[in-house]
Amino acid sequence: MIDEQTVRHVARLARLGLDEGEVARMQAELSGILEHVERIRALELDDVPPTTHVESVANVMREDVPTECLEHELALREAPATREGGFLVRGIGA
């Protein structure tokens, strides 16, 4: 189960500005889903190693050779707001 306070906390972590109606709905829906997935908490898993990835990929290295990269203008093309050749970001103050 998950309470509304936890929903608000998780929403803040996820940078989702949920309104009160969404918080209540999310609380009910997430609780339902968690109740279902809770089933795996009953399994005996102490000696089982976790699988993060099905391939055994080690670090992949390449030669450090400069190649062509995205043109500056193209990199900015899709930005909602730009200024002086950069992405425009609001201040971090409240």
């Binding site: 940078r15 949920l18 889903i33 795996i40 976790p50 990929v57 201040g91």
Partner: protein, 480 residues
């Protein structure tokens, strides 16, 4: 001669080579159906670009394997300068600045992109109803879902708009819509196809693959896109080329029916069609036995922790600063993020971001995410044991045929259950495909075949032999 839009890719290639048609004629025939689109399979169409490339291919005389064949691309794959939204409002109007490697490879093989297909937002869903741009309709029954998330990719092939499309599959998103629309869909071995340019959902599960009307057409497409890509460090060297299957017998083949996926929770008509496919395997010389994969029971729970956890990290990039749609008038950076994401994401995407953020949060990580990763190990081990006994595993692709639009939209868990048969193979990174194996009340039923990593050629061979024996390639009714 058959109408141009009715041709499979193989037949169309032969027709071009015989001088009976041209790429431009094929592309024009495809565009006519793609622009009218009563199924709403497409989100963007590139009429001018497609015609221009068709003319170029007709003129230059080079014959790469798919020369001049119209293809569609799921909107989760980036296409330079061609609008790519992943079915989300947050990417409305977004024009990527580069093209996904698999799309480039398909174009290099001669494929001509006519447009981008509809999907559940960020590939999260099993019905295409989570698209911010409205649902796709099933060509077999317009009041039913095409499945998802690659619903547009499956519908456009079933409806004879194009012979080939590319989809992506995280927990069943190629196979389940292929089953519900009555076409062939392949999720290759994890790493077989580069993910560079695929808008990421759950990176340890995401895999691109083809949808087509025949197994050989799907194999032709897979041939063009597999292999190592320096831009995706998890992509695999593909040593044994994908072959076009031709055999019609299954002598000596050992097939296992997954007992956990052939009982309770599977519609009777679907079970019946799978059982008769098993009888067909035997009539072609194969041996069929029941195989138990006990951890399959926990796959759904495991998936709905792992996939949301990975999605919550992947979707952090949508912040309304570098690209995509941004909220207007926020006072602070935090408010800008929160409002942009609240306005831009649909409810299923928010639900999964929340679930994943919760599962990864301090205090819950060990109880949820870590346990899910351990169960994933059990799933991998179950499959490994099964493949000591059999060559190929068989199950329904979807527990039901296509369900009515709106039936499951208010109940996330019932929607999640649509993927109960396809998720286990995704967790284990195994290749799996769906082919039509029957009809119930005029709706297609899909059969899933799965094998060990790198067993694509065997799977294609088995699928082709079954396809020939079952002879089910029928066209859905034309909309009034």
């Amino acid at each position: 001669m058959t109408a141009l839009h009715e041709l499979t890719a193989e037949a169309a290639i032969r027709a071009i080579e015989a001088g009976e048609t041209s790429s431009l004629e094929l592309v024009d025939a495809a565009l006519e159906r793609v622009t009218s689109d009563p199924w709403h399979a497409f989100l963007a169409v590139d009429e001018d670009g497609a015609r221009e490339r068709a003319r170029a291919i007709d003129a230059n005389g080079e014959r790469p394997p798919l020369a001049g064949i119209p293809v569609a691309i799921k909107d989760a794959l980036s296409t330079r300068d061609l609008t790519t939204t992943a079915g989300s409002r947050i990417l409305e109007g977004f024009r990527p600045v580069y093209t996904a490697t698999c799309v480039e490879r398909l174009e290099r093989a001669g494929g001509i992109i006519v447009g981008k297909t509809n999907m559940d937002e960020f590939a999260m869903g099993s019905s295409t109803e989570n698209s911010a741009y409205g649902p796709t309709r099933n060509p077999w029954a317009l009041d039913r879902v095409p499945g998802g998330s690659s619903g547009g990719a499956a519908a456009c092939v079933a409806a004879r708009q194009v012979p080939l499309s590319l989809g992506s599959d995280t927990g069943g998103s190629i196979r389940q819509p292929a089953a519900l629309c009555g076409c062939v869909g392949i999720k290759p071995t994890y790493g077989a196809v580069s993910r560079s340019g695929l808008i990421a959902f759950a990176s340890s599960l995401d895999q691109v693959g083809p949808l087509a009307r025949t197994v050989r057409d799907a194999a032709l497409t897979l041939q063009a896109i597999v292999g190592r890509d320096p831009l995706d460090t998890t992509s695999l060297e593909w040593r044994e080329p994908i072959e076009l299957p031709a055999g019609e017998r299954l002598d000596g083949l050992r097939v296992g029916i997954i007992s956990e996926l052939n009982g309770e929770g599977i519609e009777a008509s679907v079970r019946g069609a799978v059982d008769s496919a098993a009888a067909t395997v035997e009539s072609l010389g194969g041996a069929v036995e029941q195989v138990s994969l006990p951890s399959v029971e926990h796959s759904l729970s495991t998936y709905y922790l792992i996939a949301p956890a990975e999605c919550s990290a992947n979707l952090a990039r949508f912040d309304g600063i570098r690209y995509g749609r941004a909220a207007e008038g926020a006072d602070s950076l935090l408010e800008h993020y929160e409002r942009t994401r609240d306005e831009g994401f649909g409810s299923e995407v928010k639900r999964r971001i929340m679930l994943g953020t919760f599962a990864l949060a301090s205090g819950y990580y060990d109880a949820y995410y870590l346990r899910a990763q351990k169960v994933r190990t059990l799933v991998v081990e179950d499959f490994a044991r099964a493949f000591e006994r059999v060559d190929v595993l068989m199950s329904p692709t979807s527990p039901t045929t296509a369900f009515p639009l709106g039936e499951r939209t208010d109940d996330p868990l019932s929607m999640y259950l649509s993927d109960v048969c396809t998720i286990p193979m995704s967790l284990a990174g195994l290749p799996a495909l769906s082919i039509p194996c029957g009809f119930a009340d005029g709706l297609p039923i899909g059969l899933q075949l799965a094998g060990p990593a790198y067993s694509e050629n065997r799977l294609l061979g088995v699928a082709h032999a079954l396809e020939q024996a079952l002879a089910l390639d029928q066209a859905p009714p034309e909309p009034a």
